[in-house]
């Protein structure tokens, strides 16, 4: 018998398309509860997020126009500019204590770190090499070489490294209390493997001569004005701000971490900060700011997510209520066969 019916398909749920299954239908009975559930979950999260975001203290000091003098806008109380040394001193007031840890960021706008031509212009192998990197570095184009000499570090990203400097990396209160920010620990832990200090002593004189600072470094950093020597040679593995810079930002307005203070909270008071203004943002229509901020469990200050949760939560609740009322007043009969089209025709 089995032989005779050899072509008989197997009677399995899979082959006969009878698999155990579930067909959820969007009927009021299950849609309304889902609206309520979303509402009940999202609303508290939203509120918590919003409150937490509001609890983050943050002050943004846009010093782009500092060098032109004039009246600054709040929260900057006053600024003054030393055009000899290009130092901008910004005065501002911290109205209440910033709980530790406190972070110092700089913010750039209209700076397309995510521009593809910019993005791809770097050479990870050069950064990771403790010897003179002999291989091709054309990835760094257009800033790979100049007259046969190799830029170190090469590429557009490195060249445009933010060159402003917060003097002493600190805030000074009227009463000379100094609040310092440390550079160490601001880059990602994984960055440690990506950079190596050049073993300067191993370099031959020729090799050293062949390594030149990127054009902007030469222009902006006084120490590199005359090129590299064994003494001033940049130690990339230690330059965490450089490493942070090299982690390209996703959007054209971005912050970068400049320093952090994990030891003490920032007490209230009138402070001043001194910045050496070297980084040209006006040429491309950008701005630059210094931001002092602490964080919450959810990170930096950004009310958007909290508001988002609140809006979605309340909207869901509202919809749930509307449909609940509607369904109580005039429920639709499910599977009402009298509405089948060929019957009504």
């Amino acid at each position: 018998m089995a032989n005779k019916l050899g072509n008989r398909p197997a009677d399995t749920a899979f082959k006969q398309q009878r698999l155990k299954s579930w067909q959820p239908l969007l009927t009021p009975k299950n849609v309304i509860p889902i609206f309520f559930i979303i509402g009940v979950i999202f609303l508290p999260i939203g509120i918590a997020l919003y409150v937490s975001s509001e609890s983050v203290k943050e002050i943004i000091l846009d010093y782009t126009k500092c060098k032109y003098g004039g009246k600054p806008t709040l929260p900057i109380a006053a600024w003054n500019y030393d055009s000899q040394q290009n130092i901008c001193t910004v005065n501002f007031e911290i109205f209440s204590e910033y709980k530790k840890p406190v972070f110092l960021y700089y913010r750039l706008t209209n700076f397309y770190q995510n521009h593809r031509d910019y993005f791809k212009s770097y050479m990870p192998k050069q950064l990771k090499s403790d010897k003179y990197y002999k291989d091709d570095i054309s990835d760094c184009a257009p800033l790979d070489k100049s007259n046969g000499k190799q830029y170190y570090p090469c590429g557009l990203i490195a060249n445009s490294f933010f060159s402003d400097e917060v003097i002493g990396s600190k805030l000074v209160r009227e009463d000379s209390f100094e609040y310092e920010f440390s550079e160490s620990g601001i880059s990602w832990s994984s960055d440690k493997d990506k950079y190596k200090n050049m073993n300067v002593n191993q370099l031959t004189d020729e090799e050293l001569k062949n390594l030149i600072p990127p054009p902007n470094w030469k222009k902006d950093f006084p120490q590199y004005k005359n090129g590299y020597t064994r003494e001033n040679f940049p130690r990339l593995a230690d330059m965490e701000r450089f490493q942070v810079w090299m982690r390209v930002a996703g959007l054209p307005n971005f912050r970068k971490l400049y320093g952090q203070n994990k030891n003490g909270s920032l007490p209230k008071g009138r402070y001043s900060i001194q910045i050496i203004d070297r980084f040209d943002v006006e040429s491309f229509g950008g701005t630059k700011s210094i931001i002092i901020s602490n964080v919450s469990a959810f990170g930096g200050k950004n009310p958007f997510l909290g508001i988002g949760y609140v809006v979605v939560g309340s909207l869901s609740l509202l919809l749930g209520i509307i449909f609940l009322v509607k369904n109580m007043i005039s429920p639709r009969k499910l599977g009402d066969t009298s509405y089948l089209s060929y019957k009504t025709q």
Partner: protein
């Protein structure tokens, strides 16, 4: 005679292999239906694949990516998936072609006896050469086109069955030349010398011209001597024949077109949509290129990007920029779509093959899907063109009922089936034993066993059993019917027949036979009975019989008419039987007239008809027979269901009008509420006017159209065809009778080309092949004989009723599944790639990708590849039971409700909307570099990974919302895809940089999951996106409720709608029909070859021993 002009002729030498080989060296009987050979595979395959726009496009993209600096993503991200996709398709093609090779081999390796040097040698079909003399035995197919030399029957006669060629199942008679009919042994066959001049190979089945030249004499050859490949020898023990054409040159193969490559309407539309998407791609790329170009004057580009002043901007940059964008957005067109689609279709076809409901136990065959690419077309069929014989009917005639002398008898035994006033056949048999020779019942049964042209054949194994060779299946049924009453027809001699009645052999002398033809609609046999009486037995259509009754011969007429109408309404085929005793004087005088008529040279047929008219008068009505042309199981139910599904069914048959109408009635295709329009005019004018007239009248009633092949010829002419089509489409059902295979395909093409509807042709014979190939979807019935149709078809099933499941369930599902699959695939890629586009506004139109290359590639080939597959494989918007119960829902298919421009546009807009929400929200959440709780900032790739997670979440939620039915695999695919990503991301972030595949991701893996905001982001964004869709879907169900919604709810709540319980409803309708019908038809139908039978049967003497031919 010898100077007949054959034109460019072939010369075939008898028994001269060397000479034949010289000319026909290259001709072989080997046939091949496969697509590829080992050598041609690569070339043909690539040509076919790159005829698809999408593949060309991806090849182009893959090449673009090889240009240095153009590609924003890794240069192999298109080439590798493309190669993979092509490899999968190649495997599928190889697999399908392998099956074709296998079936070719089966045919080519069939055995055949060839005469070589006085001996019979068994060889395979592909060894048959032109000029070979072959011996074919009973029930075997002819391996090539042959000229019949001799046979086991007298005068080189043989019977063949040509159902594979023309669909007709009645046997046809072929006769060899007298000169060759004496070749009865292999020796004799090896001796004959001569040549055959034959026409060049052509596809005309019914024509043949040739000459046999033996010695200095030549004999003309015509179709009577021609045995075609595809036909089968029947009721003849053996024949000898000469091969004149082989393999691809045979008329059958010349008739079969290479199977056309069919594309489904969904595929067509998908192709358009791909072009449309390509348009979007161009627009996006151009927009970005313009943006890129404009921004060149921005100072950021000047100051930061081009610090060396020698970097100037050129046209080359614009072009390269444009190409960069093309590469960036290239996956707007989903690379995996085509392969996913083909894979899913293939899986669906396997499900179809494995459906137990379509498995036919009796022949041990399951349904078979041969062209998996057409599965979704099954869900959109609007017109079914069906063959009759072997498709709707079993091709078995059965003597079911009769009315004798006003008394009804029925074969049915069960008392419940037998109506009042009806007796069983057993009762009749008993009554007969006591009946006298002149009683009506005795006469009636005698007529059945005497008045016919059937030839009996004693069964070799069981001598008491006789097989009958009937060129008319009706007569066969009647003769077999008589056996039920112990009237067994056993011997035919040239002038008499013997009937064994209750064990006693009675010999009836056959004096004359007045043959059947369509004008006379009757046949008569004049016999001298064993008691010496001369009697005329007549059977025929009610009208012609009633006209010829004697005044006292019509006593049973009223009751017979009543019974006839009853039989007709049941779809039975009726014949009226009448008789008369003829005095020997009358016979003598008539016999002279008849003999004279039969020797006239001109108008012999007419003269014979006139002569017959003289004797067929004053008849006594005995009663009527009712033969059932047995329908296949479940035909009326299937047709009713298909009709309810809105499908229009046309019957295209070679049969006669009466037969066709009968079947139409019995399978409920036409009922009596319908006005039947019958066209059987031969005039062009009549047809044309008839068409106009009917359309003008625009009848309100449901109409049925019956059209004859001859009329159809005119109706299909260019001037009339649109009018004809207009009328035909107004009708609920159309029956075309006496149509040729060519006309069948023309009718199909007429509808296919002029109406925007999917057509399906179903048939079982080789004569249906052209129509099966012409229609959008061809379905072959795995009949009892021949698989020609099934082989040429896209789907083959064993029973017509399986069409129900194939269309309403598999078809609906496939259409709905593939619509979802395609639209969803477009949507998911649009959503992802449009975020890239929005991102372009924030990266200076530089072509930077927000997602890492391989993540991007794996989106298409890993993370979103399973949901479309499970949609295509498992989804059931309504389950099989409810689809079958509420066939109305099928209409959604051919109204293209699930897959059309507006659906496509709406899915496109949803993709656009979701991508906007996604990008806008992530931009605001990210703000100025997301800061984690340690104060660290996130970088570009972290932004990318977060957004990717959100996109994936959104499209998977959307998949979840689109899937109607969830099972464990569906859940696994949807949830699993997300989980897979969440698990793989950190692993990939660790391994990717390690193996230098994606250094970008370094350090993200261990960081991203520790950020709380990341988790909150990937929750809220998909929820916001999908909230609209969720609400929309719910509101549609609540406020724009349609049938689908209601039936889904009924299914869920287990509601049954008793008010439309179909079987009850149908019975009611059927009853009303029956009553209405009574005034209309009496169901006469009879199929018989026109003329020539009487002479042929006179050749037979079944008492003589037949030669063995060996």
């Amino acid at each position: 005679m010898s100077n007949r002009n054959i034109g460019n002729e072939r010369v075939i030498y008898l028994n001269n292999n060397e000479k034949n080989l010289l000319t026909y060296k290259k001709e072989s009987n080997y046939i091949s239906t496969s697509k590829y050979t080992l050598c041609s595979f690569i070339f043909k395959f690539l040509r076919e694949q790159f005829s698809k726009y999408a593949n060309v496009f991806f090849l182009f993209t893959a090449l673009l990516q090889q240009i240095p600096n153009v590609s924003p993503t890794n240069r192999w991200t298109t080439a590798i998936p493309l190669a993979f996709v092509l490899a999968v398709t190649a495997i599928k093609e190889i697999f399908e072609d392998y099956k074709r090779h296998k079936s070719d081999n089966e045919v080519n390796n069939r055995k055949i006896q060839i005469i070589e040097n006085n001996k019979v040698v068994v060889k395979t079909w592909d060894d048959v050469k032109v000029g070979d003399i072959v011996r074919v035995e009973n029930d075997c197919y002819f391996p090539a086109d042959l000229i019949l030399l001799s046979s086991s029957e007298p005068d080189a006669l043989c019977y063949i069955e040509t159902s594979n060629l023309d669909g007709e199942t009645n046997l046809k008679i072929k006769q060899g030349l007298v000169e060759t009919s004496t070749i009865l042994t292999p020796e004799a066959a090896s001796q004959i010398q001569g040549i055959i001049k034959s026409e060049q190979p052509n596809n005309r089945l019914y024509n043949y011209d040739g000459v046999l030249i033996m010695g200095d004499k030549s004999y003309p050859l015509d179709p009577t001597q021609l045995l075609l490949r595809g036909a089968k020898l029947k009721n003849t023990q053996w024949i000898y024949g000469v091969v004149i054409t082989t393999g691809p040159n045979t008329k059958l193969l010349k008739n079969s077109n290479k199977a056309p490559i069919k594309k489904t309407s969904v595929e067509h539309m998908t192709n358009y949509q791909i072009v449309f998407l390509f348009g979007i791609l161009l627009i996006l790329s151009i927009t970005c290129t313009i943006g890129y170009f404009m921004r060149q004057n921005y100072s950021f580009e000047k100051v930061i990007l081009h610090p060396k002043e020698d970097n100037s901007f050129s046209v080359k940059d614009v072009i390269l920029g444009f190409l960069t964008f093309i590469v960036l957005f290239n996956n707007l067109i989903p690379i995996s779509l085509i392969v996913t689609m083909e894979f899913v279709k293939y899986c669906i076809s396997i499900l179809i093959n494995n459906d137990l409901d379509m498995y036919y136990e009796i022949s041990d065959t399951a349904a078979q899907c041969r062209t998996s690419s057409l599965v979704e077309e099954l869900g959109q069929v609007e017109y079914i063109f069906s063959d009759k014989t072997g498709t709707l009917t079993c091709n078995i005639m059965e003597f079911q009922k009769c009315s004798i002398a006003g008394q009804k008898y029925s074969k049915k035994k069960n008392k419940n089936d037998i109506s009042l006033n009806e007796k069983s056949f057993d009762k009749l048999k008993n009554d007969l034993k006591e009946a006298h020779f002149n009683d009506s019942i005795y006469q009636f049964v005698t007529l059945l066993s005497v008045c016919h042209t059937v030839i009996p054949e004693q069964d070799e194994k069981n001598p008491t059993v006789y097989n009958y060779q009937a060129s008319s299946p009706d007569e066969g049924a009647l003769v077999k019917g008589a056996i039920l009453f112990d009237f067994q027809f056993i011997t035919r001699k040239p002038h008499s027949i013997i009937v064994r009645v209750n064990g006693k052999d009675l010999e009836y002398e056959i004096l004359n036979i007045c043959e059947f033809n369509s004008t006379r609609k009757r046949m008569s046999t004049i016999v001298r009975c064993p008691n010496g009486e001369i009697k005329i037995f007549t059977k025929g259509a009610d009208t012609v019989i009633f006209e010829r009754l004697a005044e006292n011969g019509n006593i049973y007429m009223d009751s017979t008419i009543e019974h006839l109408e009853e039989y007709a309404s049941e779809g039975l085929r009726t014949l009226c039987l009448a008789t008369r005793t003829i005095s020997s004087e009358e016979y003598m005088s008539w016999s002279k007239i008849y003999d004279e008529a039969s020797t006239t040279l001109n108008n012999r047929e007419e003269e014979l008809m006139k002569a017959a008219e003289l004797i067929e008068k004053d008849l006594f009505l005995l009663g009527a027979t009712a033969i059932e042309d047995k329908l296949q199981d479940g035909i009326p139910e299937t047709i009713t269901t298909l009709t309810q599904a809105g499908i229009k069914i046309w019957i295209l048959t070679g049969d006669k009008q009466e037969t066709a109408v009968n079947i139409g009635l019995s399978c409920k295709l036409i009922n009596n509420d319908m006005d039947l329009i019958i066209f059987d005019e031969e005039e062009i004018k009549g047809t044309s006017e008839g068409l106009s007239q009917f359309i003008d009248e625009h009848l309100r009633n449901p109409m049925g159209l019956v059209i004859d092949g001859k009329t159809l010829e005119y109706a299909l002419k260019d001037d009339n065809k649109i009018k004809f089509l207009e009328l035909a489409t107004l009708c609920q059902s159309v029956i075309c009778c006496r149509v040729s295979p060519l006309q069948k395909s023309l009718v199909v093409k007429l509808v296919k080309n002029n109406i925007d509807a999917i057509t399906l042709a179903i048939g079982d014979g080789a004569n249906d092949v052209s129509m099966i190939q012409a229609a959008h979807v061809g379905v072959g019935i795995n009949g009892m004989e021949g698989l020609q149709a099934a082989r040429a078809a896209d789907f083959s099933i064993s029973q017509f009723r399986f069409l129900n499941k194939l269309l309403l369930i598999h078809g609906s599902w496939a259409y709905s599944r593939l619509s979802k699959l395609i639209l969803y695939s477009f949507y998911k890629n649009l959503t992802l790639y449009l975020t890239q586009f929005w991102f372009a506004f924030n990266n200076g139109f530089s072509g930077q990708t927000i997602y890492e290359s391989w993540t991007l590639t794996s989106y298409n080939v890993l993370f979103t590849v399973f949901p479309p597959i499970v949609m295509g494989f498992f989804d059931q918007f309504i389950n099989a039971m409810y689809l079958n119960k509420y066939p109305n829902i099928y209409k959604e298919g051919f109204l293209a409700k699930k897959f059309n421009i507006s659906r496509f546009v709406s899915w496109t807009i949803i993709g656009l909307y979701h991508s906007l929400i996604l990008y806008w929200m992530i931009k605001n959440i990210w703000y100025e570099s997301q800061i984690d709780k340690n104060g660290n900032i996130g970088n570009h790739w972290m932004l990318g990974a977060t957004l990717f997670t959100c996109v994936l979440g959104t499209v998977l939620l959307k998949a979840g919302l689109s899937i109607d039915k969830w099972n464990k695999y569906t859940t696994l695919a949807v949830v699993g895809s997300y989980v897979l990503w969440v698990i793989l991301l950190p692993i990939y972030c660790y391994i990717g940089p390690l193996i230098k595949l994606s250094p970008e991701l370094d350090g993200i893996g261990n960081k991203i999951y520790s950020i709380m905001v990341f988790w909150l982001t990937i929750i809220i964004i998909p929820v916001v996106c999908i909230l609209r869709d969720y609400l929309w879907k719910f509101m549609t169900r609540e406020y724009f409720t349609n049938d689908k919604h209601i039936i889904q709810e009924m299914q869920k709540l287990n509601i049954d709608d008793y008010s439309i319980n179909q079987s009850w409803y149908q019975k009611a309708v059927g009853k009303i029909s029956m009553i209405n019908h009574m005034r209309k038809s009496r169901g006469f139908a009879f199929s018989q070859n026109e003329s020539g039978q009487a002479n042929l049967i006179r050749v037979y003497d079944t008492t003589k021993k037949k030669p063995t031919g060996l």
